[in-house]
Amino acid sequence: MIMRYKFEIGCVAFLVLAFILTQLGLNRFFFFAGFAVLQFIMIATAWNILGGYGGYINFGTAGFLGVGSYTSIALIQWSNVSIVPQIIAAAALAGLLGLAIGYFTLRLKGVYFAIATLALAIVLETVVNNWDFVGGAAGISILPTRKPELLGAVIVDRKIGVFGNYKEFLFFLIAGMTIFSVWVARTIEKGKLGRGLNAIKDNEEAAESMGVPTLRLKLIATTISGALMGAAGGIFPSYLTFIDPLTAFNLEFAVYSLAMPMIGGTFTWIGPVLGGLLLGTVQQVAIVTISSELNLLILGVVLVVFVTFAPHGLVGWFMKKN
C-alpha cells in the first residue's frame, strides 16, 4: 500500500522539508539559490512534456517564461494583484499561447518547429520592448506588498508572519509549483496521453495510422507545457524584484530548458528533475565561485560530455549499469 503511493508520499515529504527549511532562519542566499534550482527543475519538467515525450523541440521557452513574467507585471501595474492570482493568470495566458502556437506550428516538423518557436520568443520580446505600461526596454522594479495576508494569516513578516521574509515565502511557493509540475508530468507519462505522445515521437505517421489523434495530443502537450512554463515565469518578477525584457526573454533559458532533460534523460519524469538539479546547482556554484558568464561554458562542456557518453542521460546511464 505504502509502496503504491511512494511518489505522493515523497512529494509531501519534500514540501514539509521545504517548509521546515524556511523556518530555520538560514542565510537568505540559500533560498535565493534554492529558488533558482527549483525553477530550473520546473522549466525542465515543463519542456520535457512536449520535447521529451512528444519529440517536439521547443526553442521558445524564453517566450513562454517572458509571457508569464510580463503577465504578472501587467497585473501589478494594473491593480497590484497579489502573487497567487498573478501566477494563475500567467499560467493561463502562457497555456493559451501554447495552444495557439501549437495550432499554427505543429504542422511543421523537426527543426522547422524549433525555428518557429525560437522566432516566437524574439517577436514577443520585441513587443514588450515597445510596451511602456510594463516598463518597456528599460525594465521595471517591483515593490513587494508589505505584510501580505492569506486566509487571515500574515504570510510574510519578520515577527508575526508564516515566513520571515519574501525569499523564504517564494522558495516555498516554487517548491510547491515544482512538485505540482513533476506530478503533472508523471501523470501524463504513465497515462494514455504519454503513450500517445511517445508513439508520435517514434513515428508520427504510423501513430496517426494506428488511431492516435496526433494533432489533438500535441495541442494538449503544448498547452500544458506552456502553462507550466508561464507559471514559472509568473513568479519570476517577485523573485528578482526588477525585470527587463532581456532577462525575462533570455535565450539562455532555451538552451538550459533542453539541456537539462537531455542530461537527465528525456523519457521519464526523473530525467528533467535530475538534470535541473545538476545544472541548476552547477550554475549557482559557478556564479558564486567563478563567474556568471562562465556558467554557459560549463553548460556546453557538460552537454557535450553527456551527449557523447550518456546519450540517454543520467537515467539511461543508471539503468544500463543495473
Binding site: K192, R195, N198, N203, A207, S209, M210, G211, P213
Partner: protein
Amino acid sequence: MSEPLLNIDSVTKNFGGFTALSNVTTEVQVGERFGLIGPNGSGKTTLINCISGLLNNDGGTITFDGHNLNGMKAHKRTAAGITRTFQIPRPFHSMTVMDNLKIPIEFVSGTGASQAAIAEQAMSILETMGMAEKAHQETSGLTQIELRKLELARAIAAKPKLLISDEAMAGLTGNEVDEVLEILISFNEQGMTIIMIEHIMRAVMQFSHRVICLDAGELIAEGKPDEIVKDKGVERAYLGV
C-alpha cells in the same frame, strides 16, 4: 450484389504538376481478398495513402462502409475500420513489441479497457502471429520478417474491417512469404477484408480473389488473377513491350 465495403470513385491525386493518380475507379467487396499491382511509381502507395488518410485525394470520392472519407483525418479512418501497414516497417522503436500493439488497442479497438485487458489482447494477437516470445523485446533487435509481422500484428490489433498490406513480403525468403500469406488468409477467413499490394507475383496471384493493375496513375486492368496475368496492357506495363 451487396454494397461494396470500399468504393473508390474517380480518385485523382496531383503532386504539383505531376499526376500520381488519375480517375481511378474501383470497389472492394466485404470479405474480399483484393490484389493491387503495378510497376514502381505507378501510384499504388499513393492510392492507399488516399484511402488511409495520410494524403487527401484532390478529386473524386472514397466511401468506406457508408462513410464519405473525403477530408476525414487518418486516425478517424482507423477508428472507422481501415488500417494499413507500411512498405518500410515503421515500428515505435522506443517501445517493446508488446507496447507497439497496445497503442492501436488503447486508442482504437479497446478504448477504455484496463491495462491488463489491453495487454491480454496484445498477447493473444502476438500468439496467433507466432511472436509471443518476442513480446518484451525492443524492436531494434528484430529480424526483417519479425518487423514485417510486427507491422501486420500492430495493424490487426486495431481490429480493422479493411486491412491494407503494403508490400508486407518485400525482402522475405520463399518460406517466409508463405508464412505471411498464411497469416493474411487466416485473418481473411475470420471476416477481414484485405487489400494486398505486392511485387511478388506468386503471392499476390495465389492470394487474391480479384486484382487491379495501376500504371502511371491509371487503372489499366481489373479482373481475376489468371485474367490479369494474360492481359496485354499489364504485360506492356511490366515489360515495356
